[in-house]
């Protein structure tokens, strides 16, 4: 039973972590375009800030897995 709960929790976390991961991937694309001067530099900076914020979200989700 405990094993099943753990498995469910892991599956939920894997699902939840995909959103910030997806945001990281897409913000990285925006940052790349900004670096190539295809988008304003300010937009690139905002995306890099968003990447850092989404990384923290990922970290918190992972940390929650090992905390009781």
């Amino acid at each position: 039973m405990i094993h099943n709960n753990k498995k469910q929790r892991l599956e939920d976390t894997i699902h939840d972590i995909r959103s910030p991961l997806n945001n990281i991937s897409m913000h990285a694309e925006i940052a790349k375009l900004a670096l190539n001067n295809e988008l304003p530099a300010e937009q690139g900076r905002a995306s890099l800030e968003a990447i850092i914020a989404n990384c923290k979200t990922c970290s918190e989700l992972l940390q929650a897995l090992v905390e009781p």
Binding site: H15, R18, N23, A28, E29
Partner: protein, 444 residues
């Protein structure tokens, strides 16, 4: 300009996706619920709908049902972050319906928007054929490409070594394609010519030279003049026939059988054998002088088991070829590729091609899913497999992965039994599978 309706309840995602789509010259409208999407659809027409599979007020599937009533319905791409849902959506896909799995990048967005209706063409562009004939990007193949490039610019004779089915003729063709030769590429199989006809095949004959010689025949050496002559299975040529070949190679002149005139020939000779280089002398299949004349530049084509990372590219290329020939739309999954990579391929690329063609023939053409045989193998595979597959140059991680998958296959996927057989805990086995990216397939 493409008009796109983006339906997703995650505002951060829709904001970034809008930026990317607008940069790709799309006119984008955003909805966060099914109700909002319906409103847009009732007032505007769209070329494409990008829609989350799970929305707060229902499944994106409803939209597909509703838009079928529209005279020219937009194409639909489902967006999902859940691998279990991915397989359900994959079953629904057709010319008008596609799916994207998060995390999404610009290329995947561009692919579904630009080539939704033309996956076959997209696939063709993605397959990179080196020198117009060779597929593969592994280190072993890169080394081979470098050698081909170097030798192609010279006039040196080349001898190609490699197991049966590795593609020696394609390598010969690649050298010819890359060279500046003005003549043709002519291939002949020394093992397939009757002993008495070898001279006639190589050098040609005059009318009446022997019984049955009813007209003049031009031999392969003359046909390949100013080009490339490929002598496959050279070591199958009888030893007593080899001196006449040597004479032509040294003098660059030949006389047709039954003729008297000496004819100059100028061609590069590329020969091939499936015998290991060490066996050539010990088995007494090739004269030493012929070897040194032909193997000015020896080249070895690696067997498929030493470049398993290329199996994905090769499989894609073969399936694409089959799809073009038969107007089908088969695709191969990542899981099937892993299955193919577990096998040792004693018949090399030729065997892989035949397995995929056989699978395509056996599959349901309306399903688009390739049906691989339950067990891949040939009458020749056992003897080779028993010889062991561990080769120097592979990493411990690679060998460990192969052992884990082989054990799982042996116990029909039972992880407890596999862990016990491997002498590790079930937890460690799960950790390894997770690291290989196999955990998602377990229904996570």
């Amino acid at each position: 300009m493409l008009t796109v309706l983006l339906v997703d309840d995650d505002p951060e995602f829709t904001h970034i996706a809008c930026l990317l789509l607008e940069h790709m010259d799309c006119d984008v409208k955003v909805a966060s619920t099914l109700a909002e999407a319906r409103k847009w659809l009732s007032s505007l027409t769209f070329d494409h709908i990008l829609i989350d599979f799970m929305l707060p007020d229902g499944s994106g599937m409803h939209v597909v049902d509703e838009i079928t009533a529209i005279s020219s319905p937009p194409k639909v791409t489902f967006i999902t972050g859940h691998p279990a849902i991915k397989s359900i959506i994959a079953d629904l896909c057709d010319d008008n319906t596609n799916y994207l799995v998060k995390p999404i990048d610009k290329d995947s967005l561009s692919r579904v928007l630009g080539n939704n209706n033309n996956n076959v063409a997209a696939c063709e562009n993605a397959i990179n054929k080196h020198f117009g004939s060779l597929v593969g990007e592994t280190e072993a193949m890169q080394h081979l490409y470098q050698q081909i490039e170097r030798v192609a610019n010279t006039k040196a004779n080349v001898m190609i070594f490699g197991e049966s089915g590795v593609g020696k003729e394609l390598v010969a063709q690649a050298i010819h394609n890359q060279s500046s030769a003005s003549g043709a590429f002519v291939a002949t199989n020394c093992g397939a010519i009757a002993k008495d006809l070898i001279s006639s095949e190589l050098f040609g004959h005059e009318k009446g030279a022997f019984t049955g010689a009813i007209s003049r025949k031009i031999g392969v050496f003359e046909q390949a003049n100013n080009g490339t002559l490929f002598l496959d299975e050279l070591t199958e040529m009888p030893l007593e026939q080899q001196p006449s070949l040597l004479r032509v190679l040294e003098s660059k002149k030949l006389t047709r059988v039954g003729g008297t005139q000496s004819i100059s020939v100028n061609c590069r000779v590329i020969s091939a054998t499936n015998k290991p280089v060490d066996d050539i002398a010990t088995d007494n299949v090739l004269r030493e002088d012929i070897y040194f004349r032909l193997a000015v530049f020896p080249l070895t084509v690696p067997p498929l088991r030493q470049r398993k990372q290329d199996i994905q590219l090769l499989a894609d290329a073969f399936i694409h070829e089959y799809n073009i020939e038969n107007a089908t739309k088969y695709a191969i999954s990542d899981k099937q590729i892993r299955l193919l990579q577990e096998y040792d391929w004693p018949g090399n690329v030729r065997e892989l091609r035949h397995v995929l063609y056989r699978a395509a023939i056996m599959s349901d053409p309306y399903d688009h899913t390739l049906l691989l045989p339950m067990q891949i193998g040939s009458p020749f595979s056992k003897t080779t497999q028993n010889g062991g597959t561990i080769e120097a140059g592979r990493t411990i991680d690679d060998v460990e992965k192969e052992l884990i998958y082989a054990t799982l296959s042996k116990v029909s996927g039972n992880k407890t039994a596999a862990a016990s057989m491997l002498g590790i805990s079930t937890k460690t086995l799960y950790n390894r599978l997770h690291a290989y990216g196999d955990f998602e397939d377990e229904g996570a």
